[in-house]
Amino acid sequence: MDATRHPIVIDTAGGEYMESVMVVDWARKPGDPVKMGETIVTVETAKAATEIAAPHDGYLAQILHAAGSEVPVGSILGYVSDRPGMAASSTAGEVAQPQASAAFTRDIPAPRRARAIASPLARRLAAETGIDLAQVKGSGPNGRIKKRDIDKASAILPKPAVLADALPIVFLHGFAADRNIWRWVIPLLRVRNRVITPDLPGHGSALTTPARSIGDLAAAIAATLEAEGISDAHVVGHSLGGATALALAGIGALRIHSLCLLAPAGLGPDINGDFLGGIVGAQTPESLTPWLDMMVGDPCVLPAGFAQAVLWQRRQENSAAVQSRLAAGIFANGRQHEDFSRNLKALRIPAKVLWGRDDRIIPMAHAFTAPGTTAIHLLEKTGHVPHLEYPDIVACLIDELVLSTGR
């Protein structure tokens, strides 16, 4: 667990993840040694095949998207580890498989072929039910995946296409981020519920929407969802977005069916005021990088060029002034002035709080204010942004919450 994970990503630059790519072939299998710069995985867009180089010397530790998967640009495809013998994070192994079955073990080595061997029928059924063939073990001749294998798999896994009334999942990002921060988690979800990723007021596309308090943020989100005709949803919130989610629960306009809070604000008074100022005020990659490093447990998980991408986008949007004012209103003097733990206690829905043990922005201890009905997941070697640091674990836990409601 001491080894460091270096993410393998496609195009980490900012922007919308409109385009998707097909993972064609992994040139290595988990456990194989890799050299920085050598081709580790080939992906294909509608236009061409692109070879993705290993980000670091080490060993291929984990494949998140096997050959044959279609993933958005910007996804983390897998990780390179510094050390051998770490085919996958043990955390992922223990936590990530709430309904584990042999057929769905993520850590099976990806076969070195462009596509899974599956009967045409199995292929069609898998596409209809949203099952990733790469995750299914075939029982036919030559390991061919047959209908019975898909039937078995879909008996275990959600069949979102079958859930006629699957609810949308609303993702609320944190301070100084935007909707794109969810790009690593969303492709890893097994549930196929619709996802809604609004920008909080003062951020991204909602930069000019005025807000002075967390209540304002929640009201704006409630209005956005209402305009979309959404009355019921699952909600995932990170940090400021977590507090917004709790405030949203208090308003009562949206019926929340499950709640997943990632290092949320609003459960206690402490917050790293220096970080808030630093992250908004930095103008160069050199000045931003230390603050970004503070945000995570291990700086290596930040994709190369992340700081430049953040700055580039910030300049496009001219968001620094707006966000400084927002921070001054909500987190004046490095304190949280609004407490929503009462809202969490009042909820009678499946809820989880996730926190990195190495969070240096909001202390993990705030998690313990959660009521006994709320599951608390404390992630090792994780800082303030578990959805960026361990997107696979976060996706699994969201899956588990959504599945537990059956919607």
Binding site: P120, L121, R124, G140, P141, K146
Partner: protein
């Protein structure tokens, strides 16, 4: 209904159609005085005279060509070619004549003739009298090819073939002539060409068979039931036009297909069926299509040798077990 042998059902069809339509006439080797080597035309010369039931010299090439043009000019000839193995002699008339005229002459002519022949092995007739050349015939556009397996179909489809406005090759099987079954006696009874028949319903695999192989497929289905496999047996009694809809409907239910034809494997009728299934049913297939056919070699004479090459219920069962694995 009457219990009849397959040969008697054919005889009844010929008699009824000749009684109903004076333009129907028969010609072929040994069909008149002798009544046909398989006795299909027994008694017809006595009833209809030598003008309409004609013994011929051994001249398959010209006889087939003559059937084509006799049909163009007002009659409905029914030509018997004694063995399917002799049909290669008829191929110019079928391929270069019958198949083209309706199209290239822009609908000016119709060719309502029937070429009856019988093929297949199992009778110790050797390499020149045991073949099934279904694919060679069904390959040709513009002619229909049918192969009834039950006595009722033998009668009903022969009547339809005689009434059809296009050339029809009517494939019989030497081991079917003495099989028995209930046959409607109604002179209006016909079985339409172009429709397959489900002989047994099943859930797990569809066996598509032609001619006598339908009987072997039914035996295989019985055996498979003991294996816990529910096999559907579809009789492809119309080889061309092919009832693709029935094939697709069955595969949509069973997701597995085995095709059985007594002809050669390479470029054979079973190959065409496999390709058609791939075209139409690809996304319903849970396994590759399996073929059960004659190996690509001559039919040997000695009984154990002949039995070794002919497709049968055991080989069909093996193929099914392979496919559903």
């Amino acid at each position: 209904m009457a219990m009849m042998r397959y040969a008697e059902a054919l005889n009844a069809a010929l008699r009824e159609e000749m009684q109903a339509d004076a333009s129907v006439f028969l010609f072929g080797e040994d069909i008149g005085r002798y009544g046909g080597v398989f006795k299909v035309t027994k008694g017809l010369m006595e009833e209809f005279g030598e003008l309409r039931v004609r013994d011929t010299p051994i001249s398959e090439q010209a006889m087939t060509a003559m059937a084509v043009t006799a049909a163009m000019t007002g009659t409905r000839p029914v030509l018997e070619i004694m063995y399917a193995d002799f049909v290669p002699l008829s191929l110019d008339a079928l391929i270069n004549q019958a198949s083209i005229y309706e199209y290239i002459w822009n609908g000016q002519v119709r060719m309502p003739f029937v070429l009856r022949t019988q093929g297949g092995g199992g009778a110790g007739a050797g390499a020149q009298h045991s073949k099934s050349l279904d694919s060679m015939l069904a390959h040709v556009p513009g002619i229909k090819v049918v192969a009834p397996v039950t006595p009722a179909d033998a009668k009903g489809m022969l009547k339809s073939a005689i009434r059809d406005s296009q050339p029809v090759v009517f494939l019989e099987h030497k081991l079917l002539y003495n099989t028995r079954g209930e046959v409607p006696e109604d002179a209006d009874f016909t079985v339409p060409l172009g429709k397959a028949a489900t002989r047994r319903e099943g859930r797990d695999v569809s066996i598509f068979a032609t001619s006598r192989m339908v009987l072997e497929a039914l035996k295989a289905a019985d055996a498979l039931e003991k294996d816990g496999i529910s096999a559907e047996v579809i009789d492809l009694r119309s080889l061309r036009p092919l009832d693709v809809e029935s094939i697709a409907t069955s595969i949509a239910r069973t997701n597995h297909a085995v095709v059985v034809n007594e002809g050669w494997n390479f470029c054979g009728y079973a190959a065409e069926l496999s390709a058609t299934i791939m075209d139409r049913c690809f996304d319903d297939l849970d396994a590759p299509v399996a073929r059960v056919t004659l190996p690509d070699m001559p039919v040997p004479y000695s009984e154990p040798l002949e039995m070794a090459v002919l497709p049968d219920a055991g080989k069909i069962r093996d193929a099914v077990l392979r496919v559903v694995k």
